[in-house]
C-alpha cells in the first residue's frame, strides 16, 4: 500500500496539526518508511499467536472504588486562560 500526500494531510487534519507543504513532504517520506517496516512485519506468519495489546506482559492493577480526591478547583483554575462561574471558558464550538 502506498501512502499519498493527501493521506498525510487527512491524518494531520484529524490530529489538528497545521503543516506546511514542506513538512507534509517530510512526514510523507517518514511515514512511507514506517509503512515499509509494517509490510516487512506482515510477511511473518503469526498464525495461532495471540495478538499483543501491550508491550508489557502484565495485567491491569485495580483501585478500590473510593473517593480520594478533594476539590482543588481554585488551584487548577489559577492557570486556566479564562474562567467564569467555576467554568473553564473556551472558544465557542458550533458543530
Amino acid at each position: 500500500m502506498s501512502l499519498t500526500s493527501d493521506d498525510v494531510k487527512k491524518v494531520a487534519r484529524l490530529a489538528r496539526l497545521a503543516m506546511t507543504e514542506t513538512e507534509i513532504q517530510a512526514a510523507h517520506a517518514q511515514m512511507t518508511g514506517i509503512f515499509g517496516l509494517i509490510e516487512d512485519m506482515q510477511a511473518i506468519n503469526t498464525d495461532g499467536i495471540e495478538p499483543m495489546s501491550h508491550a508489557q506482559d502484565l495485567a491491569q492493577r485495580l483501585r478500590e472504588d473510593a473517593v480520594t480526591e478533594t476539590d482543588q478547583r481554585e488551584l487548577f483554575q489559577s492557570v486556566a486562560p479564562q474562567v467564569e462561574k467555576g467554568l473553564y471558558l473556551v472558544p465557542q464550538v458550533i458543530e
Partner: protein, 501 residues
C-alpha cells in the same frame, strides 16, 4: 408475505399509513449508555456525585493535566461483570481499553478511553415481555445483546453566552459508563420500548446503575431502518440521546414514518445521526456518514489488559440477587401467573418484594390481580411508587386471607381496600367496624330467599315458565335484602335451588 413473519407486530405507524399498511418491516437496535453507580470515577478517585458545583469534582486526571495516568476502578469492573452474569453473556477473561480519538472541549485528553476489539462483556441475551397492542396479545421475545463495554463519560459544554465563549464543566468527565449494544432484533417501537424498559429494570435490580433518566444515568441511542420483509437490512439512521420512554416512542414513530415516506416517494435513506426534538416531535439530521468521525481507535498504552478470573466471577455470582427473569419464570411455573403479569410484578425489585410479601400464605393469583389492578391504579392516581404505597404488603395479605376464607365478598374487599388506603388499619378491624362480614350462614340466606319468593309469586311463576332472565332480578333483590353482605356464590346456589322447587 408479511404474514409469515411471526415477529411482525403493528405499530402506530400502520394506522396512520393505511395505503402502505404492513408492507414495511421495521428494524431497530439500541445502544444504551448506563452510568455505573460507583462512588468514584472510572480512572481516578474524584467523586461522581450528581449536581456538584462546576469543576469541583474535576481533578488532575479529569482535566488531563500533563503527566497523569489512569488507574482502573475495581467497582466499575465488578458492575460490568454483574451485567454479564445477569444476561448470560460471555465475560472476557482478557479485555482491552482503547483510545477513541476526537477533539472537543469537553474531552480534554483529545480521546475517550473506551473498548473496541475486546470488550469486557460479549454476546448475551435479554428476554422481554411485549405488551398487548389492540387485539394482539402480549408476547415474549428474546433480544440478542452484541456486547457491553466500559468507557468514560465526557464533560459538559454550556453554550449559553459567556461573551461569545463556551463554558466547560468537567465534573462528569471520567464517570464510568457501560455501553450496552443490542442486535437489530426489534421489529416495532413497542418491542424497542419493552427492551429499553427491561434493561432499565435490570441495571437497577442488580445495583449497577441508579436508572435516573432525567439526570442522564440511562441514555438510549436508537438505530432505525425499514425494509420489505425478507429483504436485506435497509440503511439505518441513529436517533441520539433519548432520555425518556415516551420520547423514544414518539421519535421512533416519526422516524419510521419519515423513512417509509421517503422510500415510497422514490427517495433513498442516507446513513445519518439524527436528534429528536420533543417540542416538535420530529427528528432532524445532525450529521451524515460523509462527515462522520474517524476515531482512529488504538489500544491505550497507559492501561494494561484487564484480566477477569473465574474465581472473581464466581465471587460476584454468589452476591447476585434472584433476577427478574428467574422470578418471572418462578411466578409462572409455581404460582400459575401469566408471563405478562409476572413481568409487571417484576418491573422493579420493590414491586416484586411487595408482591412476594403480600402473597405469603395467600392466593398468589388473586394477590397478583389486586396489585396489578387496584393497587397500581391507586398508586397511579396518587403518583406514588410502590415503595411509598400507603398499604403495606402485610395489610393487603390480611385482606386477601379474608377474601379467601369467605369472610368478605369482592365488593366488601373493595371497601376494605379503600378504607385501608385512606385511613390505614388492619382488614379484620375494618371488616368489624364497617360490618362487612358476608353472610354465609345457609339458614339466614334461605330465610331471605323464602321471603323473596313469597313476596314475588308472579315473577316466580314467570321464571318457572321459562323466563330465565329473571334470575338476575332475584339476585338483585336478595343482595339488597342482605344489605350486600350475602356470600354471592352461596346465594346463587340457594336461589337456583329454591326457585326450581
Amino acid at each position: 408475505m408479511w404474514r409469515t413473519s411471526i415477529s411482525w407486530r403493528p405499530t402506530g405507524i400502520n394506522a396512520r399509513h393505511r395505503g402502505f399498511e404492513m408492507t414495511w418491516e421495521i428494524v431497530i437496535g439500541l445502544e444504551v449508555h448506563a452510568q455505573l453507580s460507583t462512588n468514584s470515577k472510572i480512572f481516578c478517585g474524584a467523586s461522581t456525585a450528581f449536581g456538584a458545583e462546576p469543576n469541583t469534582q474535576a481533578d488532575a486526571v479529569s482535566l488531563a493535566l500533563p503527566g497523569v495516568l489512569p488507574v482502573l476502578n475495581k467497582g466499575a469492573v465488578e458492575r460490568a461483570i454483574k451485567f454479564g452474569l445477569a444476561t448470560g453473556a460471555h465475560i472476557a477473561p482478557k479485555s482491552v481499553f482503547a483510545r477513541k480519538n476526537y477533539f472537543y472541549p469537553d474531552l480534554p485528553k483529545g480521546y475517550q478511553i473506551s473498548q473496541m476489539d475486546l470488550p469486557v462483556v460479549g454476546k448475551g441475551t435479554l428476554t422481554i415481555q411485549v405488551p398487548a397492542v389492540g387485539k394482539l396479545p402480549a408476547y415474549e421475545k428474546v433480544v440478542g445483546l452484541t456486547r457491553a463495554h466500559l468507557e468514560e463519560d465526557a464533560g459538559k459544554s454550556l453554550h449559553e453566552d459567556f461573551h461569545g465563549m463556551t463554558g466547560i464543566d468537567l465534573n462528569r468527565a471520567g464517570t464510568p459508563l457501560l455501553e450496552i449494544v443490542s442486535e437489530p432484533d426489534m421489529r416495532s417501537a413497542a418491542e424497542a420500548i419493552a427492551y429499553a424498559k427491561t434493561l432499565h429494570t435490570l441495571v437497577q435490580w442488580i445495583g449497577i446503575c441508579d436508572g435516573n433518566m432525567q439526570e442522564g444515568s440511562f441514555r438510549c441511542d436508537v438505530n432505525v431502518s425499514v425494509r420489505k420483509p425478507g429483504a436485506p437490512f435497509g440503511t439505518r439512521r441513529e436517533i441520539k440521546n433519548l432520555n425518556s420512554f415516551k420520547f423514544m416512542q414518539q421519535a421512533i414513530d416519526y422516524e419510521v414514518q419519515w423513512q417509509i415516506d421517503t422510500l415510497e416517494n422514490g427517495g433513498k435513506i442516507q446513513q445519518a445521526t439524527v436528534l429528536f426534538n420533543p417540542d416538535t416531535g420530529e427528528t432532524r439530521t445532525m450529521r451524515t456518514k460523509e462527515d462522520a468521525h474517524d476515531y482512529r481507535y488504538f489500544p491505550d498504552p497507559d492501561l494494561l489488559p484487564l484480566e477477569i478470573s473465574e474465581a472473581w466471577k464466581n465471587e460476584i455470582r454468589a452476591t447476585m440477587p434472584e433476577l427478574p427473569q428467574t422470578k418471572q419464570q418462578r411466578y409462572v411455573a409455581e404460582m400459575g401467573l401469566s408471563a405478562y403479569d409476572a413481568s409487571l410484578l417484576t418491573s422493579s425489585k420493590a414491586m416484586a418484594d411487595f408482591f412476594e410479601a403480600a402473597a405469603t400464605g395467600a392466593d398468589a393469583k388473586q394477590c397478583a390481580n389486586w396489585i396489578i389492578g387496584e393497587v397500581s391504579a391507586q398508586l397511579n392516581r396518587d403518583s406514588l411508587d410502590i415503595d411509598k404505597c400507603p398499604i403495606s404488603p402485610q395489610q393487603l395479605n390480611g385482606m386477601l386471607k379474608r377474601i379467601a376464607d369467605g369472610t368478605i365478598s369482592n365488593s366488601g374487599a373493595k371497601e376494605v381496600f379503600r378504607t385501608m388506603w385512606a385511613e390505614g388499619g388492619e382488614a379484620d378491624a375494618i371488616i368489624e367496624a364497617k360490618g362487612l362480614k358476608q353472610v354465609s350462614d345457609t339458614g339466614a340466606l334461605e330465610k331471605i330467599v323464602d321471603e323473596i319468593i313469597a313476596a314475588n309469586a308472579d315473577k316466580v311463576a314467570e321464571y318457572r315458565s321459562g323466563k330465565d332472565k329473571l334470575f338476575g332480578f332475584f339476585v338483585g333483590l336478595a343482595m339488597k335484602a342482605s344489605k350486600g353482605k350475602a356470600n354471592p356464590a352461596q346465594m346463587n346456589d340457594i336461589l337456583k335451588k329454591k326457585l326450581l322447587e
